[in-house]
């Protein structure tokens, strides 16, 4: 069995709009190692969420996967390419919610307002397991308890609008984990929450990952979160991967100019009172508009750099 639960290769996605074709993903390749937390960072529109939606195969028209493959190697079944599955393939049903599940950005709207929390969590089980309604509800209750909901017997019959934002996100996480998926994709799960609640949710995700030992793909633009959670970091920009490395490599010693700019733009105590760095100077560089293949450096990280810049590192 492969060490990587996901191997994404040359993934390209386009959105056909009235004003022309928008290339959301140009050539995305990276691996998601099994049992680890992989963070995908990048600014808005860099293609982080589109990549996640491709893995779940929930890209909606006018979006379309043009080319590439996503090799999925689950423990429970034989490996297969997610991109090549036709819409009627039964493996697609197992994939969504059972083998891979997703936590979204907006806990306030990610749950339907007209069904109870228990109904929506239990539904995830009923979609994939041959169990009775009662068994599903019992499992749902256990999972809700595990994500830290108090007074579950009462709360399970309540509606989402009776929960606070942080509690709702716990419910969404319970819903995502209740089938024990091999990969949990978190698409900016803390962006819409208060700072204190953010910390709680992050701790919860990290603890549950250690407990369940699943693989996590964590999408964020918050480098502080990356430092706290991730094992591996993928830096994306304009639908391309610019740098892949361990947390230490990318956050301590970024190679790509864009990664360097991204890091410099974090407000810190040392720079208090000073103007923040912008990435604007980097964005204009020809480096970022032309695509270079990812090259593996001696320290193991991969980077997409212009040949002259690359030579510098290889000569070291």
């Amino acid at each position: 069995m492969s060490d990587n639960v996901l191997e994404i290769r040359n993934l390209a996605v386009e959105f056909k709009t009235d004003t022309g074709i928008s290339k959301a993903l140009r050539d995305v390749s990276f691996d998601v190692p099994r049992g680890k937390v992989t963070a995908v960072v990048g600014e808005s529109g860099s293609g982080k969420s589109v990549t996640a939606n491709c893995i779940m195969r929930i890209i909606q028209p006018p979006g379309k996967i043009i080319s590439g493959e996503i090799m999925f190697s689950p423990i429970r079944t034989d490996p297969y390419d997610i991109v090549s599955l036709v819409n009627k393939d039964p493996r697609l049903v197992d994939l969504r919610g059972d083998l891979i599940s997703m936590v979204f950005q907006e806990p306030m709207t990610a749950l339907s307002p007209v069904y109870t929390v228990g109904n929506q969590v239990a539904e995830a089980i009923l979609c994939h397991r041959d169990v009775t309604e009662r068994e599903a509800w019992n499992e749902a209750a256990d999972m809700l308890m595990q994500v830290g909901i108090d007074d579950v017997p009462r709360r399970i019959h309540q509606y989402p609008f009776e929960f606070s934002g942080g509690m709702r996100q716990r419910v969404v996480i319970a819903m995502a984990l209740v089938c024990h998926p091999e990969i949990l994709i978190c698409d900016e799960p803390t962006t819409a929450l208060d700072v204190t609640v953010q910390a709680e949710i992050l701790t919860l995700i990290r603890d549950l990952q250690r407990e369940l030992n699943n693989s996590v793909l964590f999408i964020t633009h918050d480098l502080g979160v990356v430092a706290q959670l991730a094992d591996q970091v993928v830096v994306m920009y304009q639908g391309r991967v610019l740098e892949i490395g361990t947390v230490r490599q990318v956050l301590k010693d970024p190679v790509h100019p864009y990664s360097q700019g991204l890091l410099a733009s974090i407000p810190g105590l040392a720079s208090k009172g000073q103007r923040l760095e912008t990435i604007a100077s980097v964005v204009g560089d020809a480096d970022l508009l032309t695509s270079y293949p990812l090259t593996r450096l001696k320290d193991g990280r991969q980077v997409s750099l212009a040949p002259d810049l690359l030579r510098e590192f290889e000569d070291e």
């Binding site: 779940m56 969504r96 919610g97 599940s101 990610a110 539904e123 979609c127 509606y159 609008f161 819903m175």
Partner: protein, 327 residues
């Protein structure tokens, strides 16, 4: 909840009292009354009536009393369930109303079911396949349906029914069954006549229902909770019905109550064209002929059904949408 319903029911009383006064006054507003219109008719036929007979008629109908007393007499009986006597049909109003209301109810409900059976699947298809060929075809057909006056459709349907299916034109019964007692054969005859009014009345609302459902669904289809459910592995058809459709039909639930008053007043023209024994044409006849008790009773029933319908709508909506229930 029970307290809320009781509060609403009590609140209806002053509303209905006010409406009853307005209804009574409005009916009395035009010059003349049932006696003068009867006199006109009789005189046109050459029948002479003495002033004394006119006085007797007036006294018999209590038309010689002051208006306030007439009102009290009418409303007092109405409250006890006696809606008075129709001079026009020479029958008690109660009999007339219940008989016609039964047929009206049957036609309206079957038409409503027909509307929903067509409009809901069509609206769902149009929303899910937005801007597809099917969407445009459905939209065009529906707009033609919307632009066709229902009385014209009624005429066309009658022609088609007679020409191709050999169904007698108009009415809810073939001539041989019109006054026959109820039997299986009569029920069958009734059902074979029911489909024309059902389609004609139903099609009128289909286009707008479909368009509204399509718009509502399009608003909901890309909401995060739908994406969450899809990512959870809910199969597509179940997903569509359980999540976006469930929210998209709320506006319809809130208008179900408004259908109650339409039962009485609606589709009068179609009913006249199709010669249906429903309440619509009777209401128009009563008002034209100043048949005071019949018109007044119809209008009062209309008012009662409106306020009851609104309450029903609110209760249904609260039942369907927990956000409203918990406010």
């Amino acid at each position: 909840m029970r307290g809320y319903v009781i509060k609403r029911l009590i609140g209806m009383v002053p509303t209905l009292m006010l409406i009853s006064v307005i209804v009574f006054v409005v009916i009395q507003l035009p010059p003349g009354d049932i006696v003068t219109s009867t006199l006109d008719r009789l005189q046109a036929q050459g029948v002479e009536i003495s002033a004394e007979q006119v006085q007797n008629l007036r006294a018999q109908y209590k038309l010689d009393k002051p208006m306030v007393l007439q009102y009290l007499y009418w409303i007092g009986n109405f409250v006890t369930g006696d809606m008075g006597y129709s001079y026009l049909y020479s029958r008690p109003v109660n009999e007339l109303v219940w008989e016609r209301l039964g047929y009206t109810l049957l036609i309206s409900i079957s038409a409503l079911l027909f509307t929903w059976a067509i409009a809901v699947p069509a609206g769902m298809f149009s929303a899910v396949r937005q801007y597809s060929v099917g969407d445009y075809v459905l939209t065009t057909v529906m707009l033609v349906g919307l632009a066709t006056p229902s009385f014209l459709l009624a005429l066309l349907a009658m022609y088609a029914g007679y020409e191709w299916f050999g169904i007698s034109i108009g009415g809810l019964f073939s001539p041989e069954y019109r006054d026959a007692p109820w039997s299986l054969a009569r029920v069958g005859d009734f059902l074979s006549h029911l489909w024309i009014p059902m389609i004609v009345v139903g099609l009128g609302g289909t286009a707008s229902t479909m368009r509204i459902l399509r718009a509502n669904l399009l608003d909901e289809l890309n909401k995060p909770y739908v994406v969450t459910a899809r990512a959870k592995g809910v199969p597509p058809i179940k997903l569509l019905i359980k999540y976006p459709l469930r929210i998209a039909i709320n506006p319809f639930i809130s208008t179900i109550g408004l259908l109650l008053p339409v039962l009485i007043s609606g589709e009068a023209i179609v009913s006249i064209v199709l010669n249906l024994p429903t309440t619509g044409p009777a209401l128009i006849q009563a008002i034209v002929n100043q048949d005071m008790y019949l018109a007044g009773s119809f209008l009062m029933l209309l008012a009662i059904l409106t306020v009851v319908g609104m309450l029903l709508s609110d209760l249904l909506l609260a039942w369907a949408d927990p956000r409203i229930r918990y406010e």
